[in-house]
Each structure stands twice: as structure tokens, then as C-alpha cells.
């Protein structure tokens, strides 16, 4: 089936089998390998991308379901001039990644939450929901929580370290 996808601001026409996963189209057809597959059954969250601004597991979405949609991946997180997104800086500063495999999924889940809720910094439960939405086997999660808080505070305009 022929579909159109807008990925990170660029339009793509792709011809895909109906069964083909969004994750595989992103990775193999478009070369956007920053989206990782960790479990392929929607639990670990490593493959999370934004579809129409909302986080989805790209291993559970068929590419044909995205026809005409806009998709944002970790490659599209930084500013066009290369300036890192506050989440990217915060993840580094808080040592919220080690092996880095799950990281794009956490970044995109957090990016979706931040964009949906500018007041995220003041909502610990919502932040816990974001951090609890994925599996990381390296960090023990607390550094990820701190990074999301840090970026959320920066977005709100009161930069500072997470408690």
C-alpha cells in the first residue's frame, strides 16, 4: 500500500505491506535507526515515537495506520540548528542513560508529556507515569526521573536541579 508520512517535518511516500510495523518503516525504509526495538510487544517502550504529538509504541502501530500522519522520532528532537532539546541536555546532565538503548523511547515519551502539559514540573504523579512507562535495565530509573523534572523546570522557566 502506498502511504504518505511526515517524519520530523519531511514528507515521505512509501509503499509498504499492510503488516509492516511503523518501527520497521522508520528504521529500515527511512534509515531513522534512533528508534530501537526492545521487546516488540509494546511493554518496554524503547520504540516510543510521537504520532500526531502523542506517544505511541511504534512496534504496535502498523505503518498503514499512519497514512497522512506526522511522526516525530528522536532524530527530530533537537532544534533544526542542532541545538539539543532540553530533555537531551537533562538526560546527559543527570546521567539518565548508560547503554542508551532504551533512551530514545524515554526521550520521546517525555517529550510528548512535556508538550501536552507545560506544567509537568509541578505534577510528580504525571512524571512518575512517564518514567514508569518504559523499561530501563541500566540506570535504576531515578536519574531518568530527575532528568525529566530538570527539563520540565527549564521549560517552565525555573531552571534548577531536581530534588
Amino acid at each position: 500500500m502506498k502511504i504518505t508520512l511526515n517524519v520530523n517535518g519531511a514528507g515521505h511516500f512509501v509503499d509498504v505491506e499492510p503488516r509492516r510495523l511503523l518501527a520497521d518503516v522508520l528504521r529500515d525504509d527511512l534509515g531513522l535507526t534512533g528508534t530501537h526495538l526492545g521487546c516488540e510487544h509494546g511493554v518496554c517502550g524503547a520504540c516510543t515515537v510521537l504520532m500526531g504529538g502523542r506517544p505511541v509504541r511504534s512496534c504496535l502501530v502498523l505503518a498503514v495506520q499512519c497514512d497522512g500522519s506526522s511522526v516525530r522520532t528522536v532524530e527530530g528532537l533537537a532544534e533544526p540548528d542542532g541545538e539539543p532539546h532540553p530533555l537531551q541536555r537533562a538526560f546527559s546532565a543527570e546521567h539518565a542513560l548508560q547503554c542508551g538503548f532504551c533512551t530514545p523511547g524515554f526521550l520521546m515519551a517525555a517529550a510528548g508529556a512535556l508538550e501536552a502539559d507545560p506544567g509537568l514540573a509541578d505534577d510528580p504523579e504525571a512524571i512518575a507515569g512517564v518514567v514508569g512507562s518504559g523499561i530501563c535495565r541500566c540506570t535504576g530509573y531515578e536519574p531518568i526521573r530527575r532528568a525529566v523534572v530538570r527539563a520540565a523546570r527549564e521549560q517552565r522557566g525555573t531552571a534548577g536541579r531536581a530534588p
Binding site: 526521550l107 523499561i135 535504576g140
Partner: protein, 757 residues
């Protein structure tokens, strides 16, 4: 401030990481395996005919179709000759399936979809046999043998000498218990990966791996090719935790097919495969006996281990010997004896998983210490203090054959208790005990001794330091990072040793062409061994630079000093030159060496506070304090990250992670990570991490291993806290993981509430 805290972050945070699955190789074929749905059985036939007709499938083969496909070779003393004799591990099943998921055939296709289409068309006929999935079952039922005519016991061993019966008879108190340490899945977020690319008469193998040189040697030995015809390159690796340090059957098949077809072949293990056929960790059934006098001074300790080796003895059969040799723990027990039987079962092979034998040893002694304390009415903290190896007794020779290098065990425990606020929680524990409406609360202590660096024969690392004309430096080594920040930390270490800016040093590792010899990253050894090697090599470079400068200037070497990244005459004056200028003047400057270290024994103490709901069987860990002593810390942030991550894996072992099997020995994993529960953020209690610092006397650098302590210490602390909350008399009621079902039953068992201290 630099934009990124680690060099790795620049690519890993922007989608520019490069894992094996990300590498774009034109014409690359993807492999998929046909896997057995039964745990044990006789393979009658495999028919790949229909698979070969599937569009996009390039080929499909069973063992019968590939008579020259070699079996898995053993290397690096991972097993013993008499354990593997008569027990071949074929890369594809020949006539007998011995574990569920064992590969029956392989299909390669233009992409993974086509390959899996082919897999669906392969027909295999297997006559099922009864399966045994625990050591006790494999020992009990002698009619089920994994290898006809051979015992299911693949290896016997011991550490220490048998305890004289009079010691038990004469002791004031003897406690006994049985523990089961369940099989765990290491579960790195990236499963196993391999990409084999034929290039002329060479094969380049890309793999997420901890030991590229071992993989290269293993493939070369199995495929009977000269070692220098195989290059292994490790790109970004998405976690490993011990599980990516060997050559596995699938790797052999992929490399073989790439050579046979003359085309690149890749296998990316999916999660369901990983849960079926990636190596497991732990898997021990233990019994213990501990004797003490009335004051609680330990007299003798006996540990028997029936270890689940899995279906083939090639990778992990000697692993439980680490548990046996570490049985002594942190105490001055005069008589310690540990015995091992490594037992073959119809499960995937057991192999090192973070902690690798030490969590099993720590959990056995630390749970038993609490049992003894309850029996004697001695506070568990006080009982430990009475028996610690004193800080002035190092180096200390244990009855189980270890020579502990250094330690201050009471200091670590004291810091843990202080950090927790032990007395406050003791008071809360008592208050709740007297309040029938309050949920019971328990405090659990676990004092561990870790063993880092590896075992004899693998305590060295290779590397080099090379200075360039532009003043930059290249460091190479045989280690391979799977998240441990080598790319940042090793250059920083070399830069500091040389007195040059960090930005002038870069690291190359994980490539057997760049670094012909190497050992790798396991046993928490990167800082301890490779770090010490780099410090040593940097010293050699300085020495060489001083000698060259001395010759140029006509001075004795001892009148040439090294400072700020350059040489200068000790007497002052114009004789001074930078490293880069020295290279320009005197030619290439590169030193390489093999650096040998000794085993190190990090240690520490974990204290957990847990609240238990006896009606629901739930455990709520309220606080966890982890005190770790890994000697000199090179990077506090990295060590903190290792400790926390490892501790969370220990929480998983204690409370969540476990495999259940159906009646015919197949793991119940249809729902993947919903059947095997890894801790998520929702399960993480407040964890405080502290460090004491007792330098490693074995190297000038003074670092010990830091990667595994958390999962060594945490499980026993948590289980002890639950046992304390429920005042359980029989520790056998609390077998990990402490699921609500286990805890609910334990809370209702006869004898509950006895042994109150």
C-alpha cells in the same frame, strides 16, 4: 560546561547511536531460527522444503542439510573436558532437543519478514520426552537423562574441607535451611545481535559483545580458520550484564552461513527468542548448616549447591564454583565447606549474569545469619559485628580458598545503619509490633563480599597508548563497553596520568584489528584491570618520552622530568618540549603492554526496611541503603549509576523476576515482559547509596570492581526484612521471588511468629 556529560551521550541522545541492528550493509540477509516448542524430545525430521519456496527466502537449512556445520567449541576454561565429553552442543539440533526453543533450522531471507515467513513453513517432527527443569527433578528422576548413558551431574566440586562431625555435635546451636535461587533472565534491552560480513578471505563480525577477542577466537576455532581471518567489531551495545560474553549456537550458524553464501548475514534476536534461549543466571538449590556458640561466634558453615547448569555443560558448568569459593562471606568462621553439583536440566544454559555466583553465596550466608540471630536472640547487626573479619586481619585467607585483599566491613555496616537511621526504624518496628492495626515492618541487613576482576588466567588486559605529532593521544584496549562509559572515562584517566587535556585523548576499543589481543569487560573489571593497565601504559609512555628527550639533549634520564604533558630538563633552561613536538622530532611514540592484576574483593552492606501486608501478600520496600566499597572511585557518577542499576536488578531478584514452567517443561512466557516482571519505576523504593573507600592494594590505581555489588547485596537484605516483618521461623517459606502468593502463604504457615527476638 561541556554540552554532554559523557562523550557517548552526543550520539546516544540524538538517535545517532550505532547498534548492530542499525548498520546498513548492502545485500545483507536476515536470519531467523525455527525453534523447538518442546523442552525435551527426539527430533525425527525437519522438512525445510516449503520454506525454500517462500518469496524472498534465500535458503533454509536443518542440521541434516549442513553436515559440516561445526558444534559449539569451548574456550577460556569455561567448562571442563570431562564435563563436555560425550555431550556435544550442536549449533542446530541433530537428533535430540534438550531445551525449549533450541534451534531446529535456520532460514535466511531478504529481510526479517521474509525469513519469518520461511520459518512458518518449516515442519519439524519431535517425539516428546519427559522434561526436568530443576536440579532436584533432574537428580530425582534418573529415568530422564539429557545424554543417554551419562549422568545428569556434569561436574562436582568443593571449596574448603569437610567439617568434622564433632563441631556440629558440640556446638551450642546449629541452624539449617534450604534456599532456592531462581533462574533469572539478564534481559539487556538490546537482545543478542550478530552481523557477519565476508570480505575476501576474511570475515568481519559485528556483535553487541563484552569480549570481542573471545568471540573471534571461538569462531575461528569452531570454523577452523586462522584467528587473523576473523575480525570482531563491537559497536554500541545495548546492555549485557554478563549475557553477551560468549559464542552462542546462533552466532556460529550466522558466521557459517555468511561464509557459505559469501554474503552478509545478520541475526537480531527478538525478545521472545531471548526469553526462551538467551542464557540464564543464578539457578541454585542450596542447603546450609551454620554452627555457633552461645555468644553467637560462628564455628562452622556448610553450603551444598545443586546448580542448574542448563542443557549443555559448555558455558556455565563451573560457575557455581564461584559461589562455593565465596561461601565464607564476611566472617571469621574457622571451618567452611561448600560442595557443588552442576546438574543438567531441560532449560537454556546458565551462564554469568551480573553478580555471577556471588549473590548466591551472599544470600545463603546472610539469610542464615538472620536465622541464627533469631535462634540465639541476638540482634542481627550485633551478630555480624561479633563475627566480622577485623580490618587489621587483611590479607585474609578464607577456609574456602580466597585471599581477601583488604576490607573494613564494620565501617561499611556502620555507615549503612547511620544513613538509614537504624534506631529510629527499630523503634517503628517495635511500635507496629504492638499495634494490631499496623502493617508489620521488618529490617533486613546483608553484608557482602564481592569478587571482582575475574579468575586466575583472566586477570590481565592488553592495551596501548600512542602519541601523535599534533599532541593528541590514542588509547587502545581489549575491553568493550556496554554502557559503562569507557569512551569518557579511559581517556580522562590517560589524560590525567599524562598531564594533557582530556580532549586530546581518544579511545579505540572493541575491535580485534585495532587491538590484536584483549580480554574484555566482565566481572566488574574495566576500571580495576583495564584502568590499571592504562595507568601503567601511560607511565611507560612517559618513561619512553623522557629517555628520548635525554638522548636528544645529551642528559642522563634522571635529569629529564615529565610535567604538564611534556618533557623538560630538571635543571630548567630551554630544554623542554611538548609530547607532540617530541613525536615530530623523534618519530612514532607508542607503548603497548599486557598488564596483570590480582583478584579484588570489594565489600559493603545493604539495609532494607520493608512493610508487609499479610492479607494481600504484598511487600512495600520503604527504604534501601546500599553502602559499597570499591576502592578508589574513578568517576563518582558512573559508580553511582552502576550501583543503583545493579541494586534495582537485585530488587528484581528478590521480589519480581522468575520463570514458571508448564507441565512439560516449557516456560510460561506467552506474554513476554508481562510474564517475566522486570522492575519499573513504580517498583523502585528510595535508595540511598554511600561509599567507604578501602583502596585496592593490588594496583597503583587502587580501583576495585563496582558493577555488580548492588545485585549481590540487595536480595538478602530485602528477604531478611520480609522475614523480620513476618517473624518467619522457617526461611524455606520465603523463596524468591517474594510474590504476593509466596508471602501470603508464608504469613499463614504454622510456626509464623515463632523465633521472635
Amino acid at each position: 560546561m561541556a554540552r554532554w556529560a559523557r562523550r557517548e551521550d552526543a550520539r546516544l541522545l540524538t538517535g545517532k547511536g550505532r547498534y548492530v541492528a542499525d548498520i546498513d550493509v548492502p545485500g545483507c540477509l536476515e536470519a531467523a531460527f525455527v525453534r523447538s516448542r518442546v523442552a525435551h524430545g527426539r527430533l525425527r525430521a525437519v522438512d525445510c522444503t516449503a520454506a525454500r519456496d517462500v518469496p524472498g527466502v534465500l535458503g533454509a537449512w536443518s542440521a541434516t542439510d549442513l553436515p559440516d556445520l561445526p558444534p559449539v567449541a569451548i574456550l577460556d576454561r569455561l567448562s571442563k573436558d570431562d564435563a563436555v565429553a560425550g555431550r556435544e552442543w550442536p549449533a542446530l539440533v541433530k537428533d535430540r532437543v534438550r531445551y525449549p526453543g533450541e534451534a531446529l533450522a535456520v532460514v535466511v531471507g531478504e529481510d526479517r519478514y521474509r525469513a519469518e515467513d520461511g520459518v512458518a513453513e518449516v515442519n519439524a517432527t519431535i517425539d516428546p520426552l519427559p522434561a526436568v527443569v530443576t536440579p532436584s527433578a533432574a537428580l530425582r528422576d534418573d529415568s530422564v537423562r539429557l545424554f543417554d548413558g551419562l549422568s545428569n551431574i556434569a561436574l562436582r566440586g568443593e571449596a574448603g574441607t569437610p567439617v568434622d562431625p564433632s563441631v556440629w555435635q558440640d556446638a551450642a546451636v546449629v541452624v539449617e535451611a534450604a534456599y532456592r535461587q531462581q533462574l533469572l533472565m539478564p534481559s539487556p534491552m538490546e537482545c543478542r545481535t550478530i552481523l557477519a560480513v565476508p570480505e575476501g578471505d576474511r570475515l568481519t563480525v559485528w556483535a553487541g559483545h563484552q569480549m570481542p577477542h573471545r568471540l573471534a577466537r571461538s569462531l575461528a576455532a569452531s570454523l577452523r580458520r586462522p584467528a587473523d581471518r576473523i575480525r570482531v567489531v563491537v559497536p554500541d551495545t545495548g546492555g549485557a550484564f554478563g549475557s553477551k560474553s560468549a559464542m552462542f549456537p546462533e552466532y556460529l550458524v550466522v558466521a557459517y552461513l555468511a561464509l557459505r553464501l559469501g554474503r552478509p548475514v545478520r541475526w537480531i534476536e527478538d525478545r521472545l527468542e531471548s526469553m526462551l534461549v538467551a542464557t540464564r543466571g543464578r539457578g541454585q538449590e542450596q542447603t546450609v548448616r551454620l554452627a555457633a556458640d552461645t555468644e553467637g561466634r560462628l564455628l562452622a558453615y556448610e553450603l551444598t549447591i545443586d546448580a542448574d547448569a542448563g542443557a549443555y555443560p559448555h558455558l556455565g558448568v563451573t560457575l557455581p564454583m564461584i559461589t562455593a569459593s565465596m561461601a565464607t562471606g564476611a566472617y571469621t568462621t574457622p571451618h567452611v565447606h561448600a560442595t557443588v553439583r552442576s546438574v543438567l536440566t531441560n532449560t537454556m544454559v546458565t551462564y554469568p549474569y551480573r553478580g555471577a555466583g556471588r549473590p548466591e553465596a551472599t544470600t545463603a550466608i546472610e539469610r542464615t545469619m538472620d536465622l541464627l540471630g533469631r535462634r540465639l536472640g541476638i540482634d542481627p547487626v550485633e551478630l555480624r559485628r561479633r563475627n566480622f573479619i577485623p580490618s587489621d586481619a587483611f590479607p585474609y585467607e578464607t577456609p574456602t580458598g580466597r585471599r581477601y585483599d583488604s576490607g573494613n566491613y564494620s565501617a561499611a555496616l556502620d555507615l549503612a545503619l547511620r544513613t538509614l537511621g537504624y534506631e529510629k526504624w527499630r523503634a517503628e518496628r517495635s511500635r507496629r509490633h504492638d499495634d494490631p492495626d499496623a502493617l508489620p515492618l521488618g529490617i533486613g541487613v546483608s553484608c557482602y563480599v564481592e569478587r571482582s576482576g575475574g579468575e586466575a588466567g583472566l586477570l590481565h588486559e592488553f592495551g596501548s597508548v600512542e602519541a601523535h605529532e599534533d599532541g593528541t593521544v590514542t588509547a587502545r584496549c581489549g575491553a568493550a563497553s556496554s554502557g559503562q562509559s569507557h569512551e569518557t572515562l579511559f581517556p580522562a584517566l590517560v589524560a590525567e596520568a599524562l598531564g594533557v587535556p582530556e580532549t586530546h585523548v581518544r579511545l579505540i576499543e572493541g575491535d580485534t584489528d585495532e587491538q590484536p589481543e584483549g580480554v574484555g569487560s566482565f566481572a566488574s573489571r574495566s576500571a580495576q584491570v583495564a584502568g590499571a593497565m592504562f595507568q601503567h601504559a601511560a607511565g611507560l609512555l612517559v618513561q619512553e618520552a623522557r629517555e628520548r628527550a635525554a638522548e636528544s639533549w645529551g642528559l642522563p634520564v634522571d635529569e629529564v622530568d615529565w610535567a604538564d604533558g611534556g618533557v623538560h630538563a630538571a635543571s630548567g633552561g630551554p630544554a623542554a618540549t611538548s609530547l607532540g613536538d617530541l613525536v615530530k622530532a623523534t618519530g612514532p611514540l607508542r607503548v603497548e603492554d599486557r598488564y596483570e592484576t590480582s583478584v579484588a574483593f570489594p565489600f559493603g552492606a545493604h539495609v532494607a526496611v520493608a512493610e508487609v501486608d499479610p492479607d494481600l501478600g504484598t511487600v512495600n520496600v520503604l527504604r534501601l541503603v546500599a553502602v559499597e566499597d570499591c576502592g578508589v572511585v574513578l568517576s563518582p557518577a558512573t559508580v553511582h549509576g552502576q550501583t543503583l542499576g545493579s541494586t534495582v536488578q537485585g530488587i528484581g531478584q528478590a521480589l519480581y523476576e522468575g520463570i514458571t514452567f508448564d507441565d512439560v517443561g516449557v516456560p510460561c512466557l506467552a506474554s513476554g515482559f508481562l510474564d517475566y516482571l522486570l522492575p519499573t519505576f513504580a517498583e523502585i523504593p528510595p535508595v540511598d547509596i554511600r561509599h567507604t573507600r578501602t583502596p585496592n592494594p593490588g594496583t597503583p590505581l587502587g580501583a576495585k570492581g563496582a558493577g555488580e555489588s548492588g545485585c549481590i547485596g540487595a536480595p538478602a537484605a530485602i528477604v531478611n526484612a520480609v522475614a523480620d516483618a513476618l517473624r518467619i521461623a522457617d526461611p524455606g517459606l520465603l523463596q524468591t521471588p517474594l510474590t504476593p502468593d509466596i508471602v501470603w502463604r508464608a504469613a499463614r504457615a504454622p510456626g509464623h511468629g515463632e523465633g521472635v527476638r
